[in-house]
């Protein structure tokens, strides 16, 4: 009896002890993080920050030069300044020049303490939005607003994204409307629904980064496509507009990577493969990726 009691005491003591862990194995580097998304307008916004490694101290940002080449020619760089943003310092620059579809954009950032970061992208051709319709519809027992968007898939384009913005006027403000990117019911549009029906039962997420719904043209190559964009009807939203993006491969991969990391809770728990964050920045992280965007008018 005494030995049994001793055993139970040992077991209880041990049960309270979990493994301790050190993050020494992780080798994170201090690098520049560069984001820029050129499109066919005059200004490219370049945001630069420094990574904060899990192990070790973060280096302070000390940018010595930023260069943006459009088809090999320098854009004019305007230093907007440093700003503390969510616990990190972000430097913003504007690259001013003529940018249009097909242009090759190359951005290079030099820092006094960190390795030089550079990346390149090509601005894709835009895709014209065809027919646009908005309806109220009953779907799975609830009222939805359905934005139907038709467009032609062109030969060079492969990657797309769609985003629906809702506009509302707050009660106390009568002059200015506010906007929000609305969440779409992806089960109603097979092009946006990555998962099978079983997913919902298992509780997997199907979130899209900042409600930017990315897709590729594998199911409608070189054909006319119609997207059925269902959003749960909200009484305060007065009108909607839809944006159709043609993405460069880099942009698509960045957004896909962000979605995968966000939705893969199982991987975070060590039960499935965890995918890396996409980057096309040499010497650093982040992404320089071109896109083109067309949008509809506000529709009620």
């Amino acid at each position: 009896m005494r030995s049994l009691l001793s055993y139970l005491i040992i077991v209880i003591c041990l049960a309270s002890c979990q493994d301790t862990i050190s993050l020494d194995q992780i080798k994170g580097k201090n690098t520049l993080v560069v984001y820029a998304f050129p499109t066919n307008n005059d200004t490219i916004v370049i945001k630069v920050s420094a990574s904060q490694p899990i192990q070790g101290k973060a280096e302070k940002l000390s940018i010595t030069s930023v260069r943006c080449l459009t088809n090999g020619k320098d854009d004019k760089i305007v230093d907007v300044g440093y700003k503390d943003d969510s616990g990190t310092t972000v430097a913003t620059y504007y690259a001013i020049g003529k940018h249009q579809s097909g242009d090759e954009i190359q951005i290079t950032v030099n820092d006094a303490n960190l390795a030089t970061a550079s990346a390149m992208t090509i601005i894709p051709a835009s895709s014209a939005i065809g027919e646009v319709k908005i309806d109220s519809t009953f779907y799975k027992g609830s009222m939805y607003t359905q934005n139907r968007l038709t467009f032609e898939d062109d030969e060079p384009s492969t990657y797309y994204a769609v985003r629906v913005t809702g506009m509302y006027v707050p009660e106390n403000e009568s002059t200015k409307g506010l906007t929000e990117f609305v969440e779409l019911e992806t089960s109603a549009e097979p092009i946006l629904n990555n998962y099978s029906s079983a997913e919902i039962e298992f509780g997997s997420w199907n979130d899209y980064y900042h409600n930017m719904y990315i897709f590729d043209d594998s199911s409608f190559k070189n054909k006319r496509a119609t997207l059925h964009l269902y959003t749960l009807q909200k009484s305060w939203i007065e009108s909607y507009k839809t944006q159709l993006f043609v993405l460069s491969p880099e942009y698509y991969r960045l957004l896909k990577s962000l979605n995968d990391i966000k939705n893969n809770d199982i991987g975070a728990n060590g039960l499935s493969f965890m995918f890396s964050t996409y980057t096309n920045v040499n010497g650093g992280y982040g992404c320089v990726a071109g896109y083109c965007m067309e949008e509809t008018a506000w529709k009620k």
């Binding site: 992780i26 029906s197 992280y285």
Partner: protein, 859 residues
């Protein structure tokens, strides 16, 4: 005349004094060197020596001096010197037969040892053996661990049949452990482990339910994957690279309860041959391991059985004759019984609820094995084997809000149905065959239904009905034949072929939504997708176990598979080679090279081996997975009790598949081939295996030092560690027989932690066009599996208490404790950013001590 005769006799005597006979010389050598001469009685030893007299040199010199120039050859076998005439030595007769237990059960891997010449062979999977011996006196011994040996002494003058009937399941203290031919020291193959039913049943078992796969997890070179799941990752391979054969039929769903139990009922298992390298050519279709499970034929003499009840499951097994000594049956059923408790419990709880609300949860699994064996005559038999495994989980929920009622039904089931009809035929003394027709069906179904209704004055009006179904099916239909041909003493040839037609229905999904009452015009959406594929495989093989010299043996083989899928033919040639050099009786060196191909794949996005994971064929664009493996090792047996081996392996795999993105728990099957990326694998390591086998104590030690890497250029620039790249792994298992009635056992496992992906830095996240507000911070993930979790270690202990009932039946109480010192092994860890901007991580582990008990009665 008398004088002449006297002179002749005197001359002869003087001559004889200088030239003694061989027999006399032998007698002198025996006395001097304490050796024993073994020879045929017909051998004439009363002849004068030619080579001269025995001198005071070494034994070898003495023998050389004595027999040089005579027609007698000799072999030194320990303390025995075997003599034979050169002519007699050239003549070989075959001795063949079958090794069975008294109840007619064939014994696999029994050692048949000629004590006269030292020649040895083993029985095959049907208990048959053949050995070639010289004419003369022989003493042939058949033995197998767990059985009493039997010896036959006979004079061999022609080919003969000799069957052995061994007493089975004798007490351990009676066992005399001789060198087993099937032990690693003597077999030509590398990487082979054999497990008997006793090995599985007397080891620690989770929840007191013996488990084959959890036994295999203790083997060196094998990673068990996620805790409690029945994962098997052999030499850095993936979970789908293991071929499980149940009486020759492939099994695709090898787990119950999401991995808590394996699908093999240990009561019906006779023998398991597990290969992690050195695969003989007769096995093909997977690149990492082969597990060949053979079930018991059934007792030909009398009805016997076992009844066992454990914490979560109960088992019953009955075997016996249908027609004494001709036809036997063996039936085993294992079923979880927790649902039998849950049903009345929920019924009771639901009666206390108001408004007809009720909630039920049910889970049950079963596996059923049945085998019928019929002996046509002494040599030929036919048999039929059936396996059915099934898991069923369900949740039903009825909720009411005033007049509104929501009923939810959730059903999830999966399983296998396998059928094998086979025959074993002896075609000639040196040729026998096994022919089999095999059918295999594996399936899973996930169904959910949500029905919202409105109740008013006995009128029920439906608001909505949401139905979702997801089905996966796979069917294999195949025929195979295997020949075993032993034309010469030095050649054991196996050849055969098979044809398999695979039908894949990896996923059929249906989503239906009905809004409103069916009697009215309703709003309905219905989407159905399905995916069909099929492939054909024709495979032939040949292998030859060749004794090149008494010390050097090789196993050469090759298999060729023609896979036809989507009008594309893949020609897969898989050469195999194994070589063994027996340095001494107690030491051997082995090497092997194997090339393996696999033309079906299980596509999974998790490591959980979910039943909804589906198998798909190689396609026009997706190549078969192929591996090459080189293994070398040293094997020794220091005494009858202690053996030790060291094996090194190097394995490369190509055309591994991995989803290129996170696809959710059940990715859409219709586009699976567009979502996977092709990669490579590389693993290498060293394995140390030691066994102590005493009268009461048996201890095994398995240590593995290994590296396992992956290369998927689309996912990461460079090689990265595999999820189960456990650098060190130690398994120690011990069984100790305290008394005839009590035995205790323990298993201790320690390995470097599994690998997970942790962020390397925190970085600002991108702001998309039209985004306003501040940037968010997020984690940066770079190299996959960049972090090794803390070392995993666990001790499992248990005890069996045996006694005899009043009716003379044996009963066993088993008590088992999983994770006896309650170490909450880390399953994953998460990184948190602290207020001071530093980062810390916490370990998450949930599996505590799990005690269990079971009661078994044998009748």
């Amino acid at each position: 005349m008398r004088l002449v005769l006297f002179i002749m006799v005197l001359w002869c005597s003087i001559t004889a004094m200088g030239q003694t006979t061989i027999r006399e010389q032998i007698s002198m050598i025996q006395d001097k060197y304490q050796v024993h001469f073994v020879y045929d009685a017909q051998l004439n030893l009363d002849v004068q020596t030619r080579g001269g007299k025995y001198n005071n040199g070494s034994l070898k010199e003495a023998l050389k001096n004595l027999f040089d120039g005579s027609n007698i050859s000799y072999k030194i076998r320990g303390h025995n010197i075997l003599l034979m005439t050169e002519k007699l030595d050239a003549i070989k007769y075959s001795v063949r037969g079958r090794v069975t237990e008294h109840n007619g059960e064939p014994i696999i891997n029994a050692t048949i040892y000629d004590m006269t010449t030292g020649q040895v062979t083993i029985s095959n999977e049907k208990g048959y053996y053949i050995i070639y011996l010289s004419p003369g006196s022989h003493k042939l011994r058949a033995s197998c661990i767990g059985n009493k040996e039997e010896t036959h002494t006979f004079e061999l003058t022609q080919n003969r049949v000799m069957n052995f009937v061994l007493d089975g399941h004798i007490a351990l203290s009676e066992v005399v452990v001789h060198g087993e031919r099937n032990m690693a020291l003597l077999t030509t193959q590398t990487g082979k482990r054999t497990f008997t039913a006793d090995d599985i049943n007397t080891e620690f078992s989770l929840l007191s339910s013996p488990d084959l796969i959890k036994t295999l997890q203790h083997t060196s070179g094998v990673s068990g994957g996620v805790e409690l799941a029945s994962g098997l990752y052999v030499h850095g391979g993936n979970g789908d690279e293991n071929l499980f054969l149940l009486d020759g039929s492939p099994l695709y769903q090898t787990n119950h309860s999401l991995g808590l139990f394996s699908a093999f009922n240990s009561d019906i298992i006779k023998n398991v041959d597990f290969y992690k390298s050195g695969f003989p050519a007769r096995y093909s279709g997977r690149v990492s391991s082969i597990t060949d499970v053979r079930t018991l034929d059934g007792n030909m003499q009398k009805i016997k059985g076992t009844l066992s009840i454990g914490l979560l499951d109960g088992r019953i097994q009955v075997e016996g004759p249908i027609w004494k000594n001709r036809t036997s049956f063996n039936v085993a059923l294992r079923r979880s019984w927790i649902d039998l408790l849950l049903k009345p419990t929920y019924a009771l709880l639901n009666t206390q609820k108001e408004d007809g609300e009720k909630y039920t949860f049910g889970y049950a699994f079963h596996d059923f094995n049945a085998k019928i064996t019929h002996r046509l005559n002494q040599d030929n038999s036919v048999w039929m084997s059936i396996y059915s495994g099934y898991d069923n989980y369900s949740i039903n929920d009825k909720s009411t809000w005033s007049r509104y009622v929501t009923e939810t039904h959730n059903k999830f089931n999966w399983g296998n149905l396998n059928f094998t009809l086979g025959g074993d035929f002896v075609l000639s003394p040196v040729l026998n065959t096994t022919i089999a027709a095999i059918g295999s069906y594996s399936h899973s179904l996930h169904n959910s239904e949500e029905d919202d209704t409105y109740h008013y004055d006995n009128v029920v009006r439906r608001n909505s009905l949401d139905l979702r179904t997801n089905k996966t099916k796979m069917v294999d239909i195949s025929g195979k034949f295997d020949f075993r041909w032993s034309p010469l003493a030095s050649h054991r040839i196996r050849f055969g072929g098979s044809y398999t037609h695979h039908i894949f229905r990896p996923q059929t999904t249906q989503q239906s939504f009905y809004y409103g009452d069916p009697s009215e015009k309703v709003d309905t959406t219905r989407v159905e997708t399905s995916c069909n594929a099929s492939s054909d495989e024709v495979s032939v093989y040949i292998e030859d176990e060749i004794a090149l010299t008494p010390k050097l043996s090789t196993n050469l083989g090759c298999s060729y598979t023609l896979t036809n899928v989507e009008s594309k033919a893949y020609h897969l040639l898989d050469p195999r080679f194994a070589l063994k050099y027996q340095v001494t009786n107690n030491l051997s060196i082995k090497a092997s090279y194997t090339h393996m191909s696999q033309s079906i794949h299980r596509i999974a996005s998790t490591f959980l081996e979910l039943p909804t994971d589906f198998w798909v064929p190689t396609t026009h664009d997706i190549q078969p997975t192929q591996s090459q493996q080189i293994v070398g090792g040293v094997y020794s047996q220091f005494s009858n009790h202690f053996s030790l081996s060291v094996e090194g392996f190097y394995k490369r795999t190509r055309h591994l598949l991995q989803y290129r993105n996170w696809m959710g728990l059940q990715p859409p099957a219709a586009t699976w081939n567009k979502n996977v990326t092709d990669g490579k694998g590389c693993s290498y390591g060293l394995e140390l295996d030691g066994t102590y086998h005493g009268t009461r104590l048996t201890t095994t030690l398995a240590y593995t030092l290994s590296w396992s890497k992956r290369y998927f250029p689309e996912l990461h620039a460079g090689w990265f560690a595999d999820q189960f790249d456990n650098r060190h792994k130690i398994d120690i298992t011990t069984r100790y027989k305290v008394t005839d009635k009590i035995s205790i056992f323990a298993a201790w496992t320690l390995h470097s932690g599994n690998r997970i992906t942790l962020p390397v830095a925190s970085i600002s996240q991108p702001q998309l066009p039209s985004d306003t507000g501040k940037s968010e911070m997020g984690y940066l993930y770079t190299e996959p599996n960049n972090f090794s979790l803390p070392t995993y270690h666990r001790l499992d202990v248990g005890a069996d208490f045996r006694s005899t009932t009043k009716r003379g039946n044996e009963r066993i109480w088993n008590i088992s404790i999983y994770n006896a010192y309650c170490h909450l092994n880390t399953m994953y860890t998460k990184v948190h950013k602290m207020e001071d901007s530093s980062f810390s991580a916490k370990c998450k582990g949930y599996i505590p001590i799990i005690p269990s008990v079971s009661y078994t009665i044998k009748f």
